[in-house]
C-alpha cells in the first residue's frame, strides 16, 4: 500500500479556515459570524486534544481558558507601568497565559489523572467553580470585581491600534490558535503519543499491560489541551473584550459548548471539531436570531440522540463511508 502523506488531512481543515477568513474579509457583515465560528472551531480543536484522544471528559475545562484570560489581563494591568516594555506586554501576556494554564493543569492533573473514568469526571467537575471561588474568596487579582483594562491597552498601543487589536487582530490570533491546535492534533495522532492514547482509550488496562506508560501520555495530552485553552482565553476573551470577571470566565457553559462541538463532529478525529464547530456555530447564530435563548434547549436532546445512536459523530460516520476510497487520506 502506498504510504499516505503525513499532512494531507490538514488540507480540508486549513481550507475550511481559509474559506472562513476569506468570507469574513470580503463579505460585508460576515466578520462577526466568522469570528464566532473560528472561536468554536478553536475551542473544539483544543478540547479534542484531550477528550477526543483519551476518552476522558474534563468538565472543568473552562477553568484553563479562564486562567489564560487572567494571564493576559495580569500582564497588561501590572506591566503597563513599565513603559520601556511597550507592546511587548501582550507577548508576555501570551507567555503568562500559557504558564498559568499549564501550572493549573499540572495541579489538577496531579490528582485527577491518577483516577479513572467516573472518578476523573468527579474530580474535574469542580475545577472551574473551585478556582472562581478561590479568586473571589481570597480576593486575589481584584477578587469578584475583576479587571477592566481598556484604558491600559489604549495607553500602550494608542487608541487606534488598540481598537484594531480588539476588533481585527484578536480574531486573526484565534484563527492562528485554531490552526495550531489542528496541527498539534495531527502531529500527536501520527506519533507514538497518538497510538498510545488510542490504545488507552480502547482499553486502559490492556495498554498498561502492553508496557505503555499511560500516565505519561495522558499528562502530555492534558497539558497540551490546557495550554491551548489558555491561549484561546488570552485572545478570544482578554484581547477581544478587554475585561475579565470571575463568574464570566469560569462559566461551565463553555465546557458544555466544547462537549457539544466535539461530540457533534466526532471525538478523536481531526476534522470533527471543525465540522462540529461550524454546525454548532451556524445553528447557534441563526437560532439566536429566530429563537433567542433556545440553543441549549435544542442542543441538549441533539447530544443525547448522538450519544445513543451515532456515538462517532458526523466525521466518524464520514470516515466509515469513505474507507477505501480516495478521500480516505483527507479525512482523519
Amino acid at each position: 500500500m502506498k504510504q499516505i502523506p503525513k499532512y494531507f488531512p490538514l488540507i480540508p481543515v486549513f481550507a475550511a479556515y481559509f474559506i472562513m477568513f476569506f468570507l469574513a474579509e470580503n463579505m460585508e457583515g460576515m466578520w462577526q459570524l466568522m469570528s464566532m465560528l473560528l472561536f468554536y472551531c478553536a475551542l473544539g480543536q483544543a478540547f479534542n486534544v484531550f477528550m477526543g484522544m483519551t476518552g476522558y471528559v474534563d468538565f472543568g475545562y473552562v477553568a484553563f481558558m479562564g486562567v489564560g484570560t487572567y494571564g493576559m489581563a495580569l500582564s497588561i494591568t501590572r506591566l503597563v507601568q513599565y513603559e520601556f516594555l511597550g507592546a511587548w506586554i501582550i507577548l508576555i501576556g501570551f507567555g503568562l497565559a500559557m504558564v498559568m494554564s499549564t501550572l493549573l493543569s499540572m495541579a489538577v492533573g496531579a490528582v485527577a489523572l491518577r483516577l479513572r473514568g467516573a472518578y476523573f469526571a468527579i474530580a474535574t467537575i469542580g475545577v472551574n467553580e473551585g478556582f472562581r471561588f478561590l479568586i473571589e474568596g481570597a480576593r486575589i487579582w481584584n477578587g469578584s470585581e475583576g479587571m477592566i483594562f481598556t484604558a491600559d491597552l489604549n495607553k500602550v498601543l494608542g487608541r487606534d491600534t488598540a481598537a484594531a487589536l480588539c476588533t481585527y487582530w484578536a480574531d486573526i490570533m484565534v484563527l492562528a490558535i485554531a490552526a495550531l491546535a489542528a496541527f498539534v492534533t495531527l502531529v500527536y495522532m501520527r506519533s507514538k503519543i497518538g497510538y498510545a492514547l488510542t490504545a488507552l482509550r480502547e482499553d486502559e488496562d490492556a495498554a498498561k499491560v502492553m508496557g505503555i506508560n499511560v500516565t505519561k501520555f495522558k499528562v502530555i495530552a492534558f497539558i497540551t489541551s490546557a495550554c491551548l485553552a489558555g491561549l484561546l482565553g488570552a485572545t478570544a476573551w482578554a484581547l477581544k473584550t478587554p475585561y475579565v470577571f470571575p463568574p464570566e470566565v469560569f462559566e461551565i457553559h463553555y465546557t458544555i459548548e466544547a462537549i457539544i462541538i466535539v461530540m457533534l463532529g466526532g471525538a478523536g478525529t481531526l476534522l470533527g471539531p471543525v465540522v462540529g464547530g461550524l454546525v454548532y456555530g451556524i445553528s447557534k447564530y441563526y437560532l439566536s436570531i429566530f429563537l433567542p435563548g433556545f440553543q441549549l434547549l435544542i442542543f441538549a436532546p441533539v447530544i443525547l440522540v448522538i450519544i445513543v445512536l451515532f456515538p462517532e459523530g458526523i466525521v466518524g460516520m464520514l470516515k466509515a463511508k469513505t474507507r477505501g476510497t480516495g478521500l480516505e487520506r483527507f479525512i482523519v
Binding site: 468538565f59 478561590l134 462537549i259 443525547l304 445513543v308
Partner: protein, 295 residues
C-alpha cells in the same frame, strides 16, 4: 463568644447536613447499582425545588406534602430517562453515560428556564422559630431535617427488609452473581435509577427550606459539586455512607465559615465553596473509598 458562634453554626450545620446527606443518597444509589455517575444530579434537585414552589405558591400546598409528590414525579422522570437513554448506554464506555446524564441536566435546566424564566424566586413558609440559646432555628429547617432522617430510615428498612431491596443489594455486591441466582438485574437497574432520581427530586423540596430566595433554573450546579464531595466522603457507592457524609460536610461547611469570617479581607462564603472543592480532591487522592468506611 467565638465558641457560642461556632456551636450555633455547627448545630445549623448538622441540620443542613442531614438534608445534604439525603440529597446525595440518590447519587450514591445510582452509582452503586449502575456504576453511572449522574452528572446532572443538581438539575433534578432544581426540579424538586420548582415543584415545591409551584405547589406552594399557586396551589397553597404544604411543602411537606410536596415531598411524596416530588418523589413520584422523580420516579417517573427516572423511568423515562432510564428507558430512553441510560439502558442503551450501560455497556458503552463511561464517557457515554457521563455525557448523557450531563445533557439530561442541561435539558432540564433549559426546559425549566423556558417555563419559569431565569430570575431567582422563593417562597415564604412562616412556621415560627425555636430559640436554642446559641442559635435560632426556623421550624421549617427542623422539619426538613426530620424529614431527611425519616426518608433515610425508610430507605434503610426498604433495603434490608423487602425482596426488591435485597435484589438491589445483591446487584451492588455482584451483578453477574445476582443474574446467575435469578435476580432480574435489568429490573433492579431500572428500579434503582428511578428510585435514585425520586430521592433526588424529593430532596429538592427539603432544600428549598434553606434557601429563602434561591430557586433558579441554574441552582443545581453548586449542589452537584457538593453532592460529589459528600458521595466521595461516604465512599461513593453507599447511600448510608452518603447520608453520614452529608452530616460531616454540613459540619465542615458551617464550621469553616465561622473560622473564615475571622480572616480579614476575604469573602468567607466563597472560601467555603473553594474548601469543598479542595476536600473533594484530597479525599480522591488519599482515600477514594471514602473516609467513613472501615479498611
Amino acid at each position: 463568644m467565638f465558641f457560642e458562634q461556632l456551636g450555633g453554626n455547627l448545630i445549623q450545620g448538622v441540620v443542613l447536613g442531614a438534608v445534604y446527606g439525603m440529597a446525595t443518597m440518590g447519587l450514591s444509589l445510582i452509582f452503586g447499582v449502575l456504576k453511572v455517575v449522574n452528572v446532572g444530579h443538581g438539575a433534578f434537585i432544581m426540579v424538586g425545588a420548582f415543584l415545591t414552589l409551584v405547589l406552594f405558591s399557586s396551589l397553597g400546598i404544604n411543602p411537606l406534602i410536596a415531598i411524596p409528590v416530588a418523589f413520584g414525579v422523580g420516579m417517573a422522570l427516572g423511568l423515562v430517562f432510564y428507558y430512553t437513554t441510560i439502558r442503551k448506554l450501560i455497556k458503552a464506555p463511561e464517557l457515554a453515560t457521563l455525557l448523557a446524564t450531563f445533557s439530561i441536566g442541561v435539558l432540564l435546566e433549559e426546559l425549566v428556564k423556558l417555563i419559569f424564566g431565569s430570575e431567582f424566586r422563593g417562597y415564604n413558609w412562616p412556621l415560627g422559630k425555636i430559640d436554642l440559646g446559641i442559635t435560632v432555628l426556623p421550624m421549617s429547617k427542623l422539619y426538613a431535617c426530620i424529614g431527611s432522617i425519616l426518608i433515610a430510615v425508610l430507605l434503610y428498612v426498604w433495603f434490608k427488609k423487602t425482596r426488591a431491596g435485597s435484589a438491589v443489594r445483591s446487584v451492588v455486591e455482584d451483578s453477574e452473581g445476582a443474574r446467575v441466582c435469578g435476580v432480574n438485574v435489568g429490573g433492579a437497574y431500572a428500579l434503582s435509577f428511578s428510585l435514585g432520581i425520586g430521592l433526588t427530586v424529593a430532596s429538592g423540596v427539603l432544600l428549598t427550606m434553606f434557601i429563602p430566595v434561591g430557586i433558579n433554573p441554574y441552582m443545581g450546579g453548586g449542589y452537584t459539586l457538593k453532592a460529589f464531595v459528600i458521595a466521595v466522603l461516604g465512599g461513593l457507592s453507599s447511600p448510608y455512607g452518603a447520608f453520614f457524609g452529608g452530616l460531616v460536610f454540613g459540619l465542615i461547611e458551617n464550621g469553616s465559615y465561622t473560622l473564615f469570617a475571622y480572616i480579614p479581607g476575604v469573602e468567607p462564603f466563597a472560601l467555603t465553596r473553594f474548601l469543598s472543592f479542595v476536600i473533594l480532591l484530597v479525599i480522591l487522592l488519599i482515600r477514594p473509598t471514602g473516609i467513613l468506611r472501615a479498611k
